[in-house]
Every structure is written in structure tokens, then in C-alpha cells.
């Protein structure tokens, strides 16, 4: 009966968690039956909880005071018999002329071997004056003699304190009492030290894995501006922020996401600027993720953004520290995920995705010119194919007569309807764009040539498409490349097909309906409590939203952020020019 029950449970477990059947053993049985009960009750979240309970139980285990037990436990946790990169080094630790069994454990490739040998093993193993001293085991703090009776106040010898203060010349050593703490440390690239007779372990900072150095940004290039990008390492990224911010009010709070991956993330904000509610909301969302793992900031973004059904980006993603720091000073929150060279900024509103990092480095006149061009480009990318479709099918009177004749003449030999032509060309262009991202670098230019030839000359010569259509598709494509944010660019590329189809069905009626619906969706959106579009049409944000005012005039922080410091400049920021004591000007 029990066997049959076990088989049933194995089947349910397999179908629920998609795991191989052989992993089920008696130990799991009780929990599995609970989980299946929960699922049958309609609680979808409970299966996850039961699954994670297994890990949590291991987390609660306290470290033993016997080294052999600790060693066995750690070896079983890390499957050291099959795991090739788990290293255990057993040795005798010398302290006060006594020897203790001890071992260190680390992951090969994640620690600095020189540091390990010179600054951890050497002081612990080798006998020297310090650890060979055979003085009193208990340190006398004070001694009083009265009536021939000596009263001594002594401090008992504490081996763990002694190791920490005398034998480990390391800047970052943590004493931990539970296995899950030491396991987290080892996973992060630290070295664990277990010593016999004490029920604590030492987590010693010894990270030394290979990582990318600071490089130029690859995706957000600027002409004038910093040429440094974030890297995959969390600490390097936080240090970059520290260097730029240079203020003690910068708070960098660490938190781990993922039950299995425990991916380190950092929430960064300026304590004296950022709205507390915003910080609390970001932390609340991150802390309440019930997920096994995250691998990048992109994953985290999808998990904490307000609305996943809409393809518009709701958080800014940047690889540039200067851009991130600018947002930080403005009163936003930055989220860094270990292993991802892109940091997230919350909240993100529409104009943020249309602004380039270059805008900060050039005069406002240039920035506004570029911004204006970008807005036109967004409009053309979205609507140009749809407008062409609507005009040629329904509203021909808009086309000047000469141009109309030219279009008709160019389409004479084309057998397909305009909608089909346009759809085929847009699809072909999307395919080339997708392929160009995937192909190896040396093949890239070839693909460009083939694409240009096929899309351009050959298609026209074969009378598949008309020349005017090539111009429409090319202009749309060029315009789509001017959108600074990749997520927004993809959104626009998707939505342009909706404009195209409705333009073909209903002409300007279809376009107007799509535009209104698009506007309604935009106005209904929020990012971390901030309206997605509304701030840009507030008179109070003029000069910091769609277009920029001169830097000296940008006195206020964006009001929608409700920061603790509403002003970021004095009324007269260029004091040198207008100060009363100034005699240069007079």
C-alpha cells in the first residue's frame, strides 16, 4: 500500500515540478503529500512554498563543534565526491602551542590562491612566536590580595576570538553559526574555515575570480561624455556609483533574490533626496519575489515592473554610470543585479526612454534639437507605413497630383496590393535586423550587402515592390534606430504593425482609433506609482520633460518624484555672474 502511495506521489511530484522520478525518496514524501494537497485545494503558491521548505530546513542547521561532522555535512551538501571544483584542505591549526583539527573549504577558481596560501593557511598552520606562546590559558584582567587570599578576575581563553584577532590577517572575516550562512559565503567566492571544538565557522573574504575590467559602453555611446560602462560585478558597479556620487548619503542596500540562486542585488538611493515611499516600494517588490533564480537585471525588471501585459518599458535600463548617477541625484532608485552590466532605474517615464545620455553633456539647444528629431523619428517609425497605407487606399487627395502620378506609374508593374507589399518588406527588414544581431562579426557586412540588394534593387527589378515603398521602409528603419532605448524601439516596431493593419482597414479612421487607444494605454500606465505620460504635460516639469531648459534654469527636481529636496539648484545658480559683490561685470 505504502509503495503504491509512494508511486502516486512520485508521479504527482514529477508532473508538478518537472523533476526526474528518481529524486524522490522517503524524506520528501511527507512534504510532497502536503504540496499535492495544497495544489488540489487550488493554492498555486503552496507548491512553491513546499518546495522551498526543503531548502529552508537545511538553512536552519547549526554548525557542530566537531570538525569531522562539519566536514561530512559540508561534503554532502556540496556533493564533493562528484563536484570537481569543491576544494577541502584539512590541516592542524596551531594556537597557543596547542593543535586543533581544522579545514578550509572553497570553490576552486573563485578564490585568490596567493591570498589563500599567504594570508590564511600560512598564519594558521605555521608555528611562530605568536601561536607557540604557551602562557596562561586564561588572561588575568585584575588581581586583588586580601587576608592572604588572592582574588583574580580572569578572562577565559576563547579560541574563536583568538583566531579572529591574532591568526587571520584579513580585512573581512565573519563569524557565522549556521551552515546556510557559510554556504552562502562559499558560493559567493569566500573561504570557509572550520575549527575543532568550536561551533562556529569563519567566512573569510578571499574572492579572486576572473572578471571583465572596466570598458567602454557598447550600446549607449556618446561623443562627449564618460567612456566607462558598468561590469558584471556588483561591487565594481557600486564602487563606480560611489566614485561619482561622492556623498555619504548614498545608501547601497544589499538583498538576495532567488531561493536557489540567491543572486545578490543592491538597491541604491540618496537618503536625503529620494522619497521614502519609493524606496520602500522597490524593496517591497524585490523582497516579495517567490522565484528560484534570476540571472540578469532584465529578469528582475520583468518581475518588479507594474504591468507586464504592455510592451512598453517601465524601468530604465542603462550601462552608463553617469546616466545612472544623474537619475540617482534626481531622486530615483537604482537596482544593481550581480552578473548584469545593466542597472535598473525606477521609476521610468516615457521621456526618459527618449532621452540620450548625450543630452546631459551638450548645450540645451543641441539637446533639444536632437530630442525633437527623435520625437519625429518615433512618430515616423510608428505611423509612416500606416499613413502611407491610409493615404494610398483612402485619402489620395492628400497626395500632390504629380507625386500621385509618380506613385501610380511606379506601381504599374507590381501585381500585389500595397498592403501585401508593405507587410512583406517590413517583415523582410525585421528578419534582416534579427539576423544581423545573430551572425558572427565577419559575416555581418555580407549580410548587410545581401539585405540591401535583396530589399532594394532586386525586389524592385523583380516587380515585387515599388521603389517608393523601399523609401518608406528605409525611412521607417532609419528612424527606428534613432530611439535610444532598445525596449522602446522594440515596442514601437511591434505597434507599427497595428498602425499598418488598421490604416489598411480603415484609413485615417483606423489610424485615429489606434492613436487614441495608444494614448489611453499610455495614460493608464504607471511606473512605481508615477504616471507614465502625465508628468511630461505638467507645466511644472516643462524644461525637464520632453524638452530641456538651460541647465541654470533646471532648479527643481521633477515634482512627480516627490523628493525630500525639491530644489537642486539655488534660484541663482551661477552666482559668479549675479553676486552683489561682483566687480568684474561692472
Amino acid at each position: 500500500m505504502r509503495q503504491k502511495w509512494k508511486e502516486v506521489m512520485q508521479y504527482i511530484y514529477h508532473s508538478l515540478f518537472d523533476e526526474p522520478l528518481h529524486q524522490i525518496d522517503d524524506f520528501h514524501l511527507e512534504e510532497i503529500s502536503d504540496s499535492s494537497k495544497n495544489v488540489s485545494e487550488g493554492n498555486s503558491n503552496s507548491s512553491w512554498k513546499t518546495q522551498s521548505a526543503d531548502f529552508l530546513e537545511n538553512d536552519k542547521q547549526q554548525i557542530y563543534s566537531v570538525t569531522s561532522l562539519n566536514l561530512e555535512y559540508m561534503k554532502s551538501i556540496y556533493n564533493s565526491m562528484i563536484n570537481s571544483d569543491i576544494e577541502v584542505r584539512e590541516f592542524l591549526l596551531n594556537a597557543r602551542n596547542r593543535q586543533y583539527h581544522a579545514f578550509i573549504m572553497y570553490i576552486d577558481g573563485m578564490v585568490n590562491n596567493t591570498l589563500l596560501n599567504q594570508h590564511i593557511l600560512k598564519p594558521l598552520m605555521l608555528k611562530n612566536m605568536a601561536n607557540s606562546y604557551n602562557g596562561s590559558q586564561n588572561q588575568v584582567i585584575s588581581e586583588v590580595v586580601s587576608n592572604n587570599i588572592t582574588v583574580r578576575k580572569v578572562k577565559k581563553f576563547n579560541i574563536s576570538e583568538y583566531i579572529l584577532s591574532c591568526l587571520l590577517p584579513q580585512n573581512s572575516v565573519k563569524k557565522v553559526s549556521y551552515f546556510h550562512e557559510i554556504i552562502e559565503g562559499i558560493n559567493a567566492g569566500n573561504c570557509a574555515l572550520f575549527v575543532d571544538s568550536i561551533n562556529i565557522a569563519f567566512c573569510i573574504e578571499a574572492k579572486g575570480f576572473e572578471q571583465r575590467s572596466l570598458e567602454k559602453p557598447n550600446n549607449e555611446m556618446v561623443v562627449r561624455g564618460e567612456q566607462v560602462a558598468f561590469t558584471e560585478n556588483l561591487r565594481t558597479n557600486t564602487s563606480l556609483l560611489r566614485r561619482y556620487v561622492n556623498n555619504e548619503n548614498l545608501i547601497i542596500e544589499n538583498m538576495n533574490v532567488g531561493t536557489l540562486s540567491k543572486t545578490p542585488c543592491a538597491v541604491c538611493y540618496l537618503k536625503n533626496v529620494t522619497n521614502d515611499d519609493l524606496v520602500a516600494e522597490v524593496k517591497y517588490r524585490i523582497n516579495n519575489l517567490k522565484i528560484d533564480y534570476i540571472i540578469s537585471s532584465g529578469t528582475l525588471e520583468q518581475l518588479i515592473q507594474d504591468n507586464n501585459n504592455i510592451s512598453l518599458p517601465q524601468m530604465i535600463s542603462t550601462e552608463r554610470p553617469d546616466k545612472a548617477v544623474n537619475y540617482l541625484f534626481e531622486g530615483r532608485v537604482i537596482i544593481i543585479v550581480n552578473g548584469s552590466p545593466f542597472v535598473l532605474v525606477a521609476p521610468g517615464i516615457l521621456s526618459d526612454f527618449l532621452s540620450s545620455p548625450e543630452d546631459l553633456n551638450v548645450k540645451h539647444q543641441y539637446a533639444n534639437l536632437f530630442r525633437g528629431l527623435r520625437y519625429i523619428a518615433v512618430f515616423l517609425t510608428l505611423a509612416l507605413p500606416g499613413i502611407y497605407m491610409a493615404i494610398t487606399n483612402f485619402h489620395q487627395e492628400l497626395i500632390p497630383t504629380e507625386l500621385l502620378f509618380a506613385i501610380v506609374a511606379s506601381r504599374e508593374s507590381v501585381p500585389f496590393p500595397i498592403f501585401f507589399e508593405l507587410l512583406v518588406m517590413e517583415m523582410a527588414f525585421e528578419l534582416i535586423r534579427e539576423a544581423s544581431i545573430r551572425v558572427p562579426n565577419p559575416v555581418g557586412p555580407t549580410l548587410g550587402i545581401v539585405g540591401a540588394l535583396i530589399l532594394g534593387q532586386a525586389a524592385v527589378q523583380a516587380s515585387i515592390v515599388s521603389p517608393i515603398l523601399i523609401i518608406i521602409v528605409s525611412v521607417t528603419a532609419i528612424c527606428s534606430f534613432t530611439i535610444p532605448d532598445i525596449s522602446l524601439s522594440i515596442h514601437v516596431r511591434i505597434i507599427r504593425f497595428v498602425y499598418l493593419i488598421l490604416g489598411a482597414i480603415g484609413g485615417f479612421l483606423g489610424l485615429a482609433i489606434t492613436l487614441t487607444f495608444h494614448l489611453i494605454v499610455l495614460f493608464s500606465m504607471k511606473s512605481f506609482g508615477v504616471s507614465y505620460v502625465e508628468p511630461q504635460i505638467y507645466p511644472s516639469t516643462f524644461g525637464k520633460g520632453l524638452f530641456l531648459s538651460p541647465l541654470w534654469k533646471q532648479e527643481k527636481r521633477s515634482p512627480y518624484l516627490k523628493t525630500k529636496r525639491p530644489l537642486e539648484e539655488d534660484k541663482i545658480s551661477m552666482n559668479w555672474k549675479f553676486s552683489k559683490g561682483d566687480t568684474h561685470g561692472s
Binding site: I391, F394, H395, E397, L398, P400, T401, G506, G507, F508, L509, G510, L511, A512, I513, L515, T516, F517, L519, I520, V521, F523, S524, V533, E534, I537
Partner: protein
């Protein structure tokens, strides 16, 4: 006061009221003014604007004790639930009928000008489907979108006026009294229907984030509506020959079709039609929104989403019943000549009674204390 309602800023509130007037102006209002009065149309628009202003002053005076309440709440205060339901249904009836006729009228214009190979039902369903879906996105999104659309329409109407200036013949305002004094100042009062959107002033209070702005919003709305009516009527009267403006279904469209933007772009009328479609969509969205609010109040329902599709379907059915433009015109005339005046006179009466009751209650309160 319902705290769950979306709050309007000043500009949103003005656009909320004005969009209805804009719709009437685009559809046929200036044409109606022109055909009934002739050359004294401009004088008449000034006259009806002044009357509308006086009416608004009266409303303001009557509303002074009822901040945070709309006409349905006030009706409940006056005579309890029966009057509240009666007023609510009256508003609903008027709203749905006006929207349905406007929609049918506009769809017919679109059908005649651009979509002859489609059925008009196709155009109607296009509009109503979007309006229904939009209402699911919430009031705030609709009201903010309305601001953008109203601004676009203002720009397009301003451009239309600017383009028509070259063709205007100022002498066309003579004879100054047009078809006569009676026509201009007595029967011309029917042109007050251009200010049809002002009935929203009876509902706007609970919407406002700052109730003290009510006065400003009312005056600005009347001002903008008057200006739009004046400009549109002036364009028609001074630019087009009388026989053309009198015999076309959409005179403003005809006017734009006759305007020359430049030598290169000779016909830009479809661009204007594009902006008018936007206006109609916004008007529909807002009308359904108000209808849902009314229904919510009458039924004391916590959510209005259940009413979206029934209201849309009702509008669709009424639009389909009005088979052609002549029927639409007849129905509109009936609606604006008989129903609208009843509504616009009935509400001040309710307000006056409410004020008396309020004063009585206040005095009673003072006596007891």
C-alpha cells in the same frame, strides 16, 4: 462625496466640458446657425454666448451651497431616491440619444466622403468598440487623452480659420440683422444648443480636485465654446457662398476642401477629418464615462465596468435605428428643441428647491442650537 472618483485638474475639466461643444461645432452647429439666421449669424453667436454666460452665472449662484455634489446627489437631497432615479434616467436618456445621433451623423459623413464601399455599421462599430475598451482602462486615462485630443482639435480649427482668412469677404455680414430681428433674437435662441456641453457643469463638481476652480472652469468653458462657435460661423459665413454652405451635409468639411494649404498640398481636408475622428472618439469615451457614473449612482453599484457594454450596445442600436441623415437631422431637431430646453430649465428648478430646503434646514439648525 465619492472619494474613489478620479479628480480633474483645471485644464482637464475645461477640455471635458468643451469637447462636446467642439463636436457639435464640427458636425453641424455653424451650419444650423447660418441657415436659420443668414448674415446675422455672427451677431446671433454673440447674443447666445451672452445668454449662455448669464445661464452659467445663475448655475454658479445656485450651486454655492452644494460644493462636492452633482445634480443627482442634489435631487436625492430634494426629494429622495425617486427624484434621484428620475433625474438620473433623464440625464441618461438625453446623453445616450445625443451621443447616438452625433455618432450616426458623423459616421454618415465619413461614409459619404471616404468609405462608400463599406457599410456605415462597420464605422459605427469601429467607434463603439474602441470607446468600450477605452472605458475599461479607467476614467483618468480617458480624461487625460481628451486633453491631448482637444488641443489637437483646437490647433486644427485655428489653422482652418487662418487658412480661410484669405477667402473671407467681410461685407457678407450685411444685412446686419439677416432674416430679421425676430429670427436673430427670438427664434435664434435655439442656437443655444451649441452650448449643449454646459450640462456637464451639473456633474463636474465631484470630479474636481479643487472645487474652488469651478467658477473659473465654467467661465473658461463658455468662453472657449463661444470663441469656437464664433470662429466657425465666421469661416462659413464669410468664406463660402451661401448656396454652398446651405446645401452641403458637412459645410466645414466643404470649407476646408475649398481652402488651399499650399500649391503642393492642395487638399488637406482628410487631415482635418482625422482630427475630427479623434474628437468623436473622445466625445464617445466621455459620454460613456458619464453614463456609467450616472448608472453607478442610480444603482448604487460599486463598479461601473458592468455597464460599459450595455451602454455601448444601446448607443449602437439607437444609431442603427436612425437610418439616414434626414432621420438624424429630424431627431436632432426634436432633441435639441424640446428635450434640451426641458433639461436645462429643469435642473435650475431642482437647484432652487434644494437651496430653499438647505436654508430651511440651516435655520432650523440655528434655532435648535
Amino acid at each position: 462625496m465619492d472619494r474613489s472618483l478620479t479628480k480633474l485638474t483645471k485644464i482637464e475639466a475645461v477640455c471635458f466640458v468643451v469637447i462636446i461643444a467642439v463636436n457639435h461645432i464640427i458636425l453641424n452647429q455653424p451650419h444650423k446657425v447660418l441657415s436659420s439666421i443668414g448674415s446675422s449669424s455672427l451677431l446671433n453667436t454673440i447674443y447666445v454666448s451672452l445668454i449662455a454666460l448669464i445661464y452659467v452665472i445663475v448655475i454658479l449662484k445656485l450651486f454655492r451651497n452644494f460644493f462636492h455634489s452633482d445634480i443627482i446627489d442634489i435631487s436625492e437631497f430634494v426629494a429622495g431616491a425617486p427624484l434621484k432615479i428620475a433625474v438620473g434616467l433623464l440625464v441618461l436618456f438625453y446623453l445616450i440619444l445625443t451621443v447616438a445621433t452625433s455618432l450616426r451623423n458623423f459616421s454618415d459623413i465619413l461614409y459619404l466622403t471616404y468609405y462608400r464601399f463599406n457599410h456605415v455599421i462597420f464605422i459605427l462599430s469601429f467607434f463603439l468598440l474602441l470607446a468600450s475598451i477605452s472605458n475599461f482602462f479607467g476614467e483618468s486615462a480617458i480624461l487625460k487623452t481628451n486633453v491631448i485630443i482637444t488641443l489637437i482639435v483646437f490647433i486644427s480649427l485655428g489653422l482652418n480659420f487662418a487658412l480661410s482668412i484669405g477667402n473671407m469677404i467681410p461685407q457678407k455680414i450685411f444685412p446686419l440683422l439677416g432674416f430679421g430681428f425676430t429670427n436673430t433674437f427670438i427664434s435664434g435662441l435655439t442656437n443655444l444648443t451649441a452650448f449643449n456641453g454646459l450640462y456637464l457643469l451639473y456633474f463636474i463638481f465631484p470630479f474636481l480636485s479643487e472645487p474652488k476652480d469651478y467658477r473659473k472652469i465654467s467661465f473658461i468653458s463658455v468662453g472657449i465654446t463661444s470663441a469656437l462657435l464664433f470662429v466657425s460661423t465666421a469661416c462659413l459665413l464669410l468664406s463660402l457662398p451661401y448656396n454652398i454652405s446651405d446645401n452641403t451635409t458637412a459645410p466645414i468639411f466643404t470649407l476646408i476642401a475649398h481652402s488651399r494649404f499650399s500649391v503642393f498640398f492642395q487638399h488637406s481636408e482628410s487631415l482635418y477629418v482625422f482630427t475630427w475622428i479623434l474628437t468623436m472618439i473622445s466625445y464617445l469615451n466621455i459620454s460613456i464615462l458619464i453614463a456609467i457614473r450616472c448608472l453607478k449612482k442610480i444603482t448604487k453599484s460599486s463598479t461601473g465596468k458592468v455597464f460599459i457594454f450595455p451602454v455601448s450596445i444601446l448607443i449602437f442600436i439607437i444609431s442603427c435605428i436612425l437610418q439616414n441623415q434626414i432621420r438624424v437631422q429630424q431627431f436632432e431637431d426634436f432633441l435639441y428643441q424640446y428635450c434640451a430646453p426641458i433639461l436645462f430649465l429643469f435642473f435650475p428648478v431642482i437647484l432652487s428647491i434644494a437651496n430653499k430646503k438647505y436654508k430651511k434646514a440651516k435655520m432650523l439648525n440655528n434655532d435648535t442650537t
